[in-house]
Amino acid sequence: MSPTFVTVIGLEVHVQLATRSKLFCRCSTRFGASPNTQTCPVCIGMPGVLPVMNGEAFHLALRTAVALNCSIPEFTKWDRKQYYYPDLPKGYQISQYDLPMSENGYLEISDPKERFETKRVGVRRAHLEEDAGKSMHDDAQGTAESRIDLNRTGTPLLEIVSEPDMRSALEAKTFLTELKLLLTYLGVSDCNMQEGSLRVDANVNIHVTTGRDVAATPIVEVKNMNSFRAVERALAFEAGRQFEHWRQTGQRLGDVPKQTRGWDDASGVTRPQRHKEESSDYRYFPDPDLVPVKVPPDRVERVRSELGELPAALRQRLVQHYGLSSYDSDVLVNQGRPLATYFQQVADRCGDGKLASNWIQQDVLRRLNAEGVSIHTLALRPEDLAELLRRVKAGDVDTTRGREVLDAMIAQRWSVDEAFSELGIESLDEQQLVALCRELVDANPKIVEDVRSGKIKAAGALIGQARQRSPNANPSRVRQICLALITGDASLP
């Protein structure tokens, strides 16, 4: 039997918190300003300056930690992590070492397609730290020139460290998607990976079942993954690479030092990265310029009570309260809080959760994606969509005509009434409808014959003719009436 393996993955996620100013000074955190324009003596580490903690950053970190089910120690402190690099002007990063502001949480992940079982991924800790600046190396012209931009220096980051609880690249990607969704619901970060608001490093190895025992390969840290898709691809590749490497060398955990590899998205491979020149002894010690932060339990409870409904709870509620399938609930919730709220407004007003879900998933989402707009900017108020769905549900308009109404409402900014009247939609009363059907039955003896001989499907042609005569004729009703007339059902008026 050839050996099989499982992949073991832990993630380190750096999230930039959405504060207006930096973690220890008042400089702006806005992305994209000209280099070195959002700096001050504090964040560029000039002599004699002192850091002062941004209370808002701590609050956002606390919200996130509580939402990640972490325990929040009453006492937390700041430490200096020391290393030399030109984009770290103080020669140390203010971070949290042995007493982080939160620890021992979890995030539940599941897959609607059930490719893995629902599981809790442990969150070992989440702590606050300041970001470093950006180094831009340009040795293309042989000048080996490096430029430093300190705008980012001092931006608040929340570092979230998971337990090695993920067993596939898909699980890792799902964890990240769920984490991002949670952060978005909390409003603590814009999670923009392109702008570096969310950065992911992964620690990965594999456990190979050899028949004799289980061999764990050396842990590799994978960096430079710039999208969730890249994370998934990189980890899948890396697991395969480690398996091949193990087959060739038999190397196990502990045989070699931990390796760092970078993901090359274009080539689809991980490559070894050069080790940092300085040793990894960061000489952590408590920062004497900052006072420890005390977080009394009642503050944690207040934060908990102010979290709002988080994705996991919302998914459950959509299933229980609106009768959606887990799959539909998942799709809606994963679109973010604004769309989930939109759905609830529509569902509440039209009184049919499934109908609202179908229309939003099929028609609204298609339109949002096609036009690249958000639900906020869509020219369709939830009450208007709800009104349309009420009429669909009441049979005033069929689904096909309803779509035309929806399109017209958005394109022309019409209300439901305006759209109905402009499109000439009015429901025929029963007598008109019966009269119309009688005419059709009389005019189509061949079809009548077919139906009577058991070819019920033949009645479809009558529906087509009815629609031609009156676009407002409800197809299912026309079919019902015609069949009754042909079969001589006496229940007709």
Partner: protein, 503 residues
Amino acid sequence: MTLLELTATEQLRQLEAGELTAAELTRAYLERIARVEPQVQAFTRVNADAARQQAALVDRRRRQGDRVGRLAGLPVAVKDVLCTQGAPTTCASRMLADFRPPYDATVIARLRAADAILIGKTNMDEFAMGGSTENSALHPTRNPWDLTRSPGGSSGGAAACVAAGMAPLSVGSDTGGSIRQPAGLCGVVGLKPTYGRVSRFGLVAFASSLDQVGPMARSVEDAALLLETLAGHDSRDSTSANVPVPAYHRSVREPLNGLRVGIVPEHFAQGLDADVEQAIREALRVYESLGADVREVKLPHARYAVATYYVIAPCEASSNLARYDGVHYGYRWSPPPAPVGGEPVPSPPDADESDLVRLYRRTRAEGFGMEVKRRIMLGTYALSAGYYDAYYLKALKVRRLIRQDFDDVFRDVDLVASPVTAAPAFELGEMVHDPLKMYLIDLYTVSANLAGIPGISMPCGFSSSGLPIGLQLLAPSFGEEILLRGAYRFQQVTDWHRRSPSL
């Protein structure tokens, strides 16, 4: 009595009464500086023009009846470790020889708001590391009482300029005794406030958990006056205390009865100079004659204070000084130009370093002096993996015990009295090659920094060779009022602080 022999409090009274102008006073000090500074070398920079202009402005405002600040017209010298906006702030280091901060330290802003005349910046041991001012990259400062001797340090310039009559007031910083020790050796008053009493913003950090800015002056009253301006909460310093600042300049003169003064028997053990011991014992008799109850107290962990200090302070220093790397500001090593027509010559011993590491190494090797490098190495070692628990963590624990000792003692006494140093001023060069002996000078002073409590040093006599001897008083946290009042009572009945060196 000449103008310059008056205390700052007396000069201020004359300024306020219109008997003296800031311009006259400033001119007198500038003339004195011109005469004696070449011998003493207390300053890194004298702001003669700016001082004259500032003085003229204060005079005009006072004449017009405008509101002026508490120190309006009084010259103040500040240690060159405090940032002054747009003006050189060197820390007496080659590393910051050309550094001009774009901001004022909070204490500098407070002095400006009080309309003090910022007359110059004073010499110091490089980055405040040392006890002799010989570690200045610019020049040593000499003790005005004996020019062959050290003024102490690291605020040696700040002490010497007051002792030599070149400024009525100066501002120093004290991490292990750097205000009190030079004050003692130069025969002036120096006060280290409670940790958190004075903002550290703009004080170039040596050891952040120990550093405090404080006043140096001729008299206790003057020190009270200056402290009142320096002290107060600062939102830019997270470690500054939000505790109201009393009117020290008034409360210092309030009567004080039933004062309890503690002494520690070990402070009078072997190693204490006979003249110093005699002066201290005489000072204690003065207190007894004033009705004070002098009694023995115990500080059981005091003997570990120097060792504890020389772990904690270098650890913090090694971190605080990491920023001087030649990248963003300050001294930067640059590679020697390549010989004409030839390849650049790599220096053999570091041929395998990257350019970046070479820049760091050469910049710091050339920018820092020996003592600074020694302490950076000590601190880097003590914080390294595998040593942290044995050194830094252990030192923090001992520090807590030392603080606890003082908490216990101050339940029984109001003040603790001791020598400032074991001996009067030493010869320049005497200890340059014996750093350990130099470190032991801090024996009596470091405990106050470790415990965070305030301490004052004031003259209490002279050695047989005519060198001043200092008495140290320590008080509980935020006990500056009783500390100043206790010291002031002594100066009311003695005149040691009225003596001036002949220069």
